[in-house]
């Protein structure tokens, strides 16, 4: 009659002197717990470090998605024509949130006046985008922009801009929540 392995093991252990078997079992138990605990701790150190949890570049799809969306957002909210100011403001309402949205509102009130009076056109182009940190629904980026301003009857002038951007994903889409000119 074939006996289950566990039963066979139990009777094998029973054949040993009781006290010795107990000693062995306790030693194995302690060893297993210490080794297991140590290994788990080390594994946690490896996977739980800020470096490991930063998905910038390591998650290629997520990195290019946030780069693309943030780049597009910047190009849209920092581009306007005297006639299309409402469109730009509407875009900003969709693409900015939090502190960035409040800052933008203040700025845009001024822009609105200037753009109408001086027939100002601003075109913003993303030159380079790098993701510094990406963790879950929060990302920090460094973006280089070219901004071309055109005043009525004058030659366009361009300027370099570099921005630190904090973005947060809300309902699946990335929105810019903070902007710092660098």
């Amino acid at each position: 009659m074939a006996r289950p392995a566990a039963t066979r093991l139990l009777s094998a252990l029973a054949a040993l002197d009781g006290r010795r078997a107990r000693g062995c079992a306790v030693a194995v138990l302690v060893l297993a717990l210490v080794a297991g605990g140590g290994l788990l701790f080390r594994a946690q150190q490896l996977t739980g470090s800020p470096s490991a949890r930063n998905a910038a570049l390591t998650d290629h799809a997520a990195t290019s998605r946030v780069s693309g969306e943030v780049g597009d957002a910047l190009a849209r909210v920092f581009s306007y024509t005297p006639e299309g100011l409402d469109d730009t403001e509407q875009a900003a309402r969709e693409l900015l949130a939090g502190k960035a949205a409040r800052q933008y509102e203040t700025l845009f009130a001024r822009v609105r006046r200037q753009a109408r009076e001086q027939k100002l056109t601003l075109a913003t182009r993303v030159v380079e985008t790098g993701v510094t940190r990406l963790r879950g629904d929060r990302a920090e980026l460094l973006v280089f922009l070219d901004q071309t301003t055109t005043r009525a009857d004058r030659k366009p002038t361009s300027a370099a801009a570099q921005l630190s951007v904090t973005a947060r994903r809300q309902h699946g889409d990335w929105r810019i929540v903070a902007l710092t000119a660098r």
């Binding site: 717990l33 280089f144 370099a160």
Partner: protein, 192 residues
Amino acid sequence: MAPTAGEERARAGRFAAGGPVRAVAVMLTLAALCCAVWAGFTWYAAAHDDTLAYAATRDEVREAGEQAVQNLNTLDHRRLEADLDSWEDSTTGELRAQLKKGRKQFAQQIRAARTVSSARILSSAVAELDERAGRAGVLVAVRTTVEAPKEKPATKQTRMRAELTRTSHGWKLSALAQVPVGYTADTPDERD
């Protein structure tokens, strides 16, 4: 207090083959062994995880890039040789060769001008990293200050792209350039 003979027998009975306490003890030990094996696999997977290694390299590259850009924007005429040594230490390949070649003449110019240049890294990000080829591109926003005698310090914020190459002494700068504006312009950024 020593256990009586009766208690000893009773305990021996509970630990005997098929006794409930013994069965539980064996199960516990087996469970602990299984957990230890599982922990071993978990650790092994983490230690040999390509993504984790790539993340560590990315951070190493970013740090090396920041340090190299900082070094190459730092130059004090009072400790010229040390600063120029650090320029050479931070670079590799063609860039390093160029720096070495122009070092003497450049040192003379700086000694004559008596300038002190310093830099502060404002922000940085690794834009590309090819671990196999050992090449990376890092974006850096930096504020540089140049002080010359009898002149106001000139501060300027620039955007740079640094190319890094892996060497036996870590990641070194193989190219450094300001990212130019696509059009001809010299107006400052009005949006602060």
